[in-house]
C-alpha cells in the first residue's frame, strides 16, 4: 500500500517538475533536498513555511525578490545594504534576481549548526570577495569597513580606518601580495573562529518548532 502511495508521489512530482517553468516554488521533492542538504525532511518542510511567509510579503508568487528579502532582514524595504545584496546574490545561484525555495534551502543549509565548517569558510570568502575575482582585495575590505561604519553612524578618520586594515592584512596576508586568497582566509578564520559567527544560525536547529508544518504526507521518521 505504501509503495503504491510512493509511486503516486513520484509520478506527481515528476509531472510537477515538467510544468515547472523556471523556479521550484514549493518543496516539490523535500526528500531530495533533505538528501542534498544538512536538513531533515521535517526541517525542509518547516523551512518552507518560513519561505512562504517571506515570499508572500510583497508579491504573492512563491518567490523571494530582492525587496522581500530586504523586508525580511531589516523589517523595512527602504534599506539598501551592500551586505544584504551580496548575501542575496550568493543565494541566487541561478542568477535571475529571484530566489526559489530550492535556492533558499540550499543556501541556508550552509548556516545550519551541523553544516561542515568548510562550507561556511567558502561561503564567507565568497561573500567578502565583492568583485568575485577569487581573492579579497584591500580595496574591497576598505569598502566593506566604510559601509559598516556608515550603517552604524560611526565616524572614523581615514587614518584610523587604514590602520585597522593594515593590522588585519598584516595578520591575514601571509603571502604579502596585498590580497587575501582562499587559503589565507581559511587560516585566518581557523585562528579567529568568531569571524564565522554570522555563518551559523542557531534558529535553524529549532525550526520545526518555530514553523510547524502540517503536511501529512511527510515522512516523519527521519533519523
Amino acid at each position: 500500500m505504501s509503495e503504491c502511495i510512493d509511486g503516486l508521489r513520484h509520478l506527481f512530482s515528476s509531472i510537477l517538475k515538467c510544468c515547472d517553468l523556471e523556479e521550484s516554488r514549493g518543496p516539490v521533492d523535500p526528500e531530495l533536498l533533505a538528501r542534498e542538504t544538512v536538513f531533515s525532511v521535517s526541517e525542509i518542510e518547516a523551512l518552507y513555511e518560513l519561505f512562504k511567509k517571506i515570499s508572500s510579503a510583497v508579491i504573492d508568487d512563491g518567490l523571494i525578490n530582492k525587496e522581500e528579502f530586504q523586508l525580511a532582514l531589516f523589517k523595512t524595504n527602504k534599506k539598501e545594504s551592500l551586505f544584504a545584496d551580496r548575501v542575496f546574490d550568493l543565494f541566487d545561484t541561478k542568477h535571475n534576481g529571484i530566489l526559489g525555495f530550492e535556492e533558499f534551502a540550499r543556501a541556508l543549509s550552509v548556516f545550519h549548526p551541523n553544516a561542515p565548517i568548510d562550507e561556511k569558510i567558502e561561503f564567507s570568502f565568497q561573500l567578502y570577495d565583492l568583485k568575485q575575482q577569487g581573492f579579497i582585495e584591500r580595496q574591497e575590505v576598505k569598502q566593506m569597513v566604510v559601509a559598516t561604519l556608515a550603517e552604524s553612524g560611526m565616524n572614523l578618520s581615514d587614518d584610523v580606518i587604514e590602520n585597522i586594515i593594515d593590522k588585519t592584512f598584516e595578520e591575514a596576508d601571509t603571502k604579502h601580495d596585498g590580497k587575501i586568497d582562499k587559503e589565507e582566509w581559511r587560516n585566518l578564520v581557523l585562528r579567529h573562529p568568531s569571524l564565522l559567527k554570522n555563518m551559523t544560525l542557531q534558529y535553524l536547529k529549532d525550526i520545526t518548532t518555530t514553523f510547524p508544518s502540517f503536511v501529512f504526507h511527510s515522512q516523519v521518521d527521519d533519523t
Binding site: 531589516f74 523589517k75 545584496d85 566593506m144 588585519t168 573562529p193 569571524l195
Partner: protein
C-alpha cells in the same frame, strides 16, 4: 478500596503512578522522574547555550578558584584591536537571524560604543551588575556575569567583551551566553540606565542614522 472506573481505560503503569500521586502518598517530582512510565520516551529539556570559541578562556576561569571576585590586578594588555572582518561582521545585513523574526525584538546581543578608557568601562559595568545580583568573572577585557539566582531557563549568563576600534573609541559587546532572553533584555535595560555616562552611542542610535 476500589479504583475509580476511569482508571481501567488508562495504561496500568500510569494508573499505579497516579495512585501514588493522589491516594497513597504525596509523590515528589524527583520520584516521578524515576518512574518507568514517566521515563518512557522522555527527553529532558536542554537549554541551548550559545558559546563562542573566544569564550573558552573565560570558561577556564570557572575552574580557577582564585578569580571569584574582581581583583585589582594591573592589566598589561590592551583590549583586542578590532580586526576589519570582526567590524564587518557586525553589520546588520549579515545577521540572517532576523529572517526568523522569532523573538519580536528581544535580541540576544547588543553593543554600544564608548569614548571612555577600557578600564573605566569595565569598572562601571561591574558597579552596575553587582547590585543586580551578578557574580563577575573577568579576564583581560572579557567578562562573564552570572546571575546568582536561577531564572526561567537557568541562571542568566551574560558575556561582555571590549574591543578597541580606535585609540579613543571602544566597542562593547554584551551577549547572552545562557538563560532566558527576556531576562537578558531586562538586564540590558537596567545596565544601560546605569551606564549613561559611559555610553557614547547605543545600537538604537546607530540604527537610526542612515
Amino acid at each position: 478500596m476500589q479504583s475509580p472506573v476511569y482508571y481501567a481505560l488508562v495504561n496500568p503503569n500510569l494508573s499505579i503512578l497516579m495512585n501514588m500521586c493522589f491516594i497513597f502518598q504525596r509523590i515528589t517530582i524527583p520520584e516521578i522522574m524515576k518512574d518507568e512510565w514517566f521515563k518512557k520516551n522522555y527527553k529532558p529539556p536542554v537549554f541551548y547555550e550559545k558559546e563562542d570559541a573566544d569564550l573558552d578562556d573565560v570558561q577556564a576561569l570557572f575552574k580557577d578558584s582564585e578569580e571569584y571576585r574582581v581583583t585589582e590586578k594591573k592589566e598589561e594588555q590592551q583590549p583586542t584591536a578590532m580586526n576589519a572582518f570582526e567590524l564587518i561582521s557586525m553589520s546588520r545585513g549579515l545577521k540572517l537571524d532576523n529572517l526568523f523574526d522569532v523573538e519580536q525584538g528581544f535580541k540576544r546581543e547588543t553593543r554600544f560604543t564608548s569614548k571612555c578608557p577600557a578600564n573605566e568601562i569595565i569598572s562601571k559595568i561591574v558597579k552596575a551588575a553587582k547590585p543586580l545580583g551578578f557574580d563577575i568573572h573577568k579576564k583581560n577585557y572579557k567578562m562573564r556575569l552570572e546571575n546568582v539566582k536561577a531564572g526561567r531557563k537557568g541562571n542568566l549568563n551574560v558575556a561582555t567583551e571590549i574591543f578597541q576600534v580606535a585609540p579613543s573609541l571602544h566597542m562593547v559587546e554584551v551577549r547572552k551566553a545562557k538563560g532566558d532572553t527576556l531576562e537578558f533584555h531586562m538586564f540590558c535595560k537596567n545596565l544601560s540606565s546605569s551606564l549613561e555616562d559611559v555610553v557614547w552611542k547605543t545600537e538604537e542610535d546607530m540604527q537610526e542614522t542612515k
